[in-house]
């Protein structure tokens, strides 16, 4: 089950992350999960939000470069080896993982991991076959 993520290009300049998040706040868009990838010159802010299309529009109006990407979200047991078990499935299926970020809800329950993988369809198949539960957009937003 693919879910939509939006990515925002940020220059490494004072206040840019603030401006991006303020634009979303003003539009009443709540961020469910986020990660930032950064280099010395720029960063990429990745967000899971309800209404990704509207979030994209809001950010573009504020002159940000925005892209929609498809990722998958997986619930992993919150214990040692939880993530490794997921990754080994993908590894065995020879599916490259481009990046991963996670958010833990309540300790002891399931953690949610967002993965960007090379071949989402094949990845979903491999994970489902091994009984891993993939989260839908709705599931993620309910967290």
């Amino acid at each position: 089950m693919k879910i939509k993520q939006i990515s925002v290009f940020l220059e490494n300049k004072k206040g840019r992350l603030l401006e991006a998040t303020e634009a979303l706040a003003k539009a009443g868009i709540n961020i469910r999960a986020l990660s930032i990838a950064d280099t010395s010159e720029f960063g990429i802010l990745r967000l899971i939000v309800p209404e990704p299309e509207r979030a994209k529009e809001v950010l573009e109006t504020s002159n940000f470069s925005v892209r929609e990407t498809e990722v998958i979200a997986v619930g992993v047991p919150d214990r040692p080896g939880g993530l490794a078990s997921i990754l080994s499935i993908l590894n065995n299926a020879e599916i490259n993982v481009e990046y991963v970020y996670a958010f833990v809800q309540k300790s002891g329950e399931k953690a949610v991991v967002v993965l960007k993988i090379e071949d989402p369809a094949a990845g979903i198949k491999a994970l489902s076959e091994r009984g891993i539960i993939l989260l839908s957009s709705l599931d993620v937003l309910k967290l």
């Binding site: 010159e41 990745r46 002159n63």
Partner: protein
Amino acid sequence: MIWNKEAECMAFEERESLQLERLKTVVKKTYENVPYYKKRFDELKVKPEDIKTLKDISKLPFTAKADLREGYPFGMFAVPFHEIVEIHTSSGTTGKPVVAGYTLKDIQVWGEVMARALTMVGATKDDIIQNGYGYGMFTGGIGVHYGAQRIGATVVPISAGNTKRQLEIMLDFGSTILTCTPSYALHLAEVAVEQGITSKDIKLKAGCFGAEVWTEKMRDAIESKFNLVALNIYGLTELIGPGVAQECEDKSGLHISEDHFYPEIVSTDTLEPLPEGEKGELVLTSLTRDGMPMIRFRTRDITFLKRGVCKCGRTLVKIERITGRSDDMLKIRGVLIFPSQIEKALLEIKGIEPHYQIIVTRPHHLDELEVQVETSKEIFSDEIRHIETMKKKIESHIEKSIGLRVKATLVEPKTLPRSEGKAKRVFDKREL
């Protein structure tokens, strides 16, 4: 359409004899009435009578912009002051501006050459010309104005800036011709797209763009965004203002109104005249200017001459699109390059918007060239390695074109300054 067939399509020999006759007159008048020129002529031991053929022009002294500043404010005028009816200045980056004085006849000549230029662009008395060149001391606005009135077109003297109002007027009045700097035209087109205005809503059929160096890629961008024909105009305050040369629909160069402005191309190193077709600095002599005649003015603009009968029927000599100025030529690690070369290379890459800045620094006694480029939807990716690849692609493409290693930096969209007049794209921060 040709405004003045007799002058613009004149037989070559006939024009040459007209030019010679006018050259003799202007040289004599200048020698007799402008002490600065008398001094320079005397230093070179040249007399007005030494001009027997057009080639003899190379015996005359050059005039540089700095020479004009020496005569500030009115020292270069060749007529009694009461004959001067209008004054303009040309902005300079250093020191005092250059002051240009016009007699009533000069103003009429200006209207004539601008009428030729606007007719070349397609203007008739039925057109609405939205004149987005600045009015005031700058010659752009008023030059277009005089030409438009000569044709009998309707001129909207909106001047530069106020983008929202420009677009409103464009829609409400149904302007058919736009005149402004090419960078501002592009800015207007971008804002129009943002506001949901499509080329169907606007009636523009042509644009007359100039006052700064621009490229074919920029032309393509403006033409496709506005669905119009974008043509290049050339001029300079020292000679008259806009209207010295104008591109016709053949887009193969700009026709110089050479019955009024005599062109030469000289080597930037030796200042010796170059044969036709060779690239060098454009030097212009005013043949009919009374108020402030100019002898061999060094424009600093780099181009070459193309003679022959144009497809449009005109016999006026053409200059190639200006690709750079000898004084904004950058010397980076000993290599001479023009910002326009960088622009050209940049815009060859798919997805790059024509908004960029070139920054030259010398951090460790070594020149560094940074090119800042705005990200667009096409080049922004969610993955760092793709962005890094794009950066490398920009860097290697520019390096291949100009032979210099550059650093490309991606910046956020619409963060580089948009200009309403001449775009400033090069920032040389070296302390040389």
